[in-house]
Amino acid sequence: MNISTILDMAAEAFGDRVAVVSGEQRLSYAQLREHALSAAAYLRASGAGYLALLDVASPATPVAIFAAAYAGVPYVPLNYRLTAPELNALVARVAPAVLVTNAEYRQLLTPHDGMQLIDRDAFMALPIAGDEVAQPDEDPRAVAVQLFTSGTTGQPKAAILRHENLMSYIVGTVEFAAADEADAIVVTVPPYHIAGISAVLSSTYACRRMVQLPNFDPRAWLQAMRSENVSNAFLVPTMLGRIVEHLDASGEAPALPALRALAYGGGKMPLATIERAMQLFPQVGFTNAYGLTETSSTIAVLGPDDHRAAAASDDPRVRRRLSSVGRAAAVEIEIRDDEGRVLGAEDAGMVYVRGPQVSGEYQSLGSQLDADGWFPTKDRGYLDADGYLFLDGRADDVIVRGGENISPGEIEDVLLAHPAVADVACVAIPDAQWGEAVAAAVVLHADGVASVAELQELVRARLRSSRVPQAVVFRDALPYNETGKILRRVIRQELATQVAAAAA
């Protein structure tokens, strides 16, 4: 088993169909396979043990994913937003490697013996190889992808995805050649994000045209959607938020006649954003996809019918599903408490997942699965009686105040309900009496006014006194990473320092 089979099948069945569109560049599935085989021959001749990529999305991205598979080496896309020292430290962990990059990012790298640099254009212009590399390694345990996790909580870990994990994911969630000839998907997540990789694999297996948009901007996205008659799109919540804001602020007509399906994931979707998006695009089927790098992406799906049923329902139990991430996809999901006991419906604990697509493995740390194959996601949440999963933040983000576990999410939801509050993050700060206490970093709307006492009273009235932020600090903006994940670690450090200084 090898994920290169996905491309072999697409090229066999629909070789002439356009696979990738990037600006003026177009590659058919047959051409994509030809490039991947050529690059695989180059990789094999190089003796490299890894194929790394430091670049924005371009046709070289799908070529690199499949070339690595044909050549039997792990594909390692790197985050181009990291600093030069961070990048060089990661590159040192994947030697000897062929590294595909461009003139701009090349300058960030310090040359060393274990790294053969090749420019993206040269990588796409390698001499055509024969079919002799077409028989790839069949070992299902071979590593297909190695992804460095974003490291929002410390030193980046290298998550390992094997061919069997990714192939199980694709075969379990996508029907071969499901796309019509006219269909296209716009992919806006960067190549180093698991959603960027699974989008390439899913689209190839569905034989769907991929339209690449390397730098997200609401106007450019809307324009690409129209000019390419795009039927499908994937966005992280912040991107959908910016599109909705742009349409509401500019008065531009939300006309996307070809768009049928819009999937989102990679972070928490604000309720107001999804409700507004459903009003703006009533013909579109929305899908919330929840997944992790360690699970080969999506493990739970809230589908278009779920969205419509929830939005139209007067039953609060159905209505609230608009805030859920849906039901288990091709995996099993259960919730356990801190002692490992499986919890029933509505009881919050840690989310565990099991299935063939779940790798749960890091380089040098090894497998994190328990004896029965369950992976602790480190996400907290609960299931409702019908199996809908509601997430409640990261386990690491829970505030433990005097032995009581407090989820920052519930306090944030209350504060966000205040009309003046634009954004908020609640974190733990050290506290002499309680061990930890709640602190809130609040961003107000441009013309919004709210006092600390007023916000504290709001939480006291809606929740209870233990939830009241002991410190409330106003900010111009909160720090996010590029896929819209809030950087709580940064906020935690800043607030701890600030609160300690104020007390001194």
């Binding site: 050649a177 994937f234 994931g265 999506t298 996809a329």
Partner: protein
């Protein structure tokens, strides 16, 4: 020739272009055939004649199952032969709604 069928393992037809990947399989050893002739490992070579009773063909991307669906194969390349477990023909699995996120 009976073989253990492990999820992920691949086989090719000895008599046509058909190739399959095992999605799931019952335990034990089984004789997987295409065109009436035992299938081969992807790198092996063999020959035989297509049995006219097993010549209705395979289609790329289709899933093939036995009666209780304990065996499921994904056809990765189509051909003239048809699939069987021993002498029992496999059927095309009816497409179900998959939990796709795209």
């Amino acid at each position: 020739m009976a073989t253990a069928l492990k999820p992920g393992s691949r086989f090719k037809s000895a008599v046509c272009d058909t190739q399959v990947m095992v999605v799931k399989a019952p335990a034990g050893e089984h004789e997987l055939c295409c065109g009436g002739v035992a299938m081969l490992a992807p790198t092996a070579s063999g020959e035989g004649a297509l049995d006219a009773n097993f010549a209705s063909g395979t289609l790329i991307g289709k899933r093939y199952v036995n009666e209780d669906e304990s065996l499921e194969l994904l056809c990765t390349k189509g051909g003239q032969g048809s699939l069987s477990l021993g002498a029992t023909p496999l059927d095309v699995k009816q497409a179900k709604q998959l939990p796709s996120s795209d």
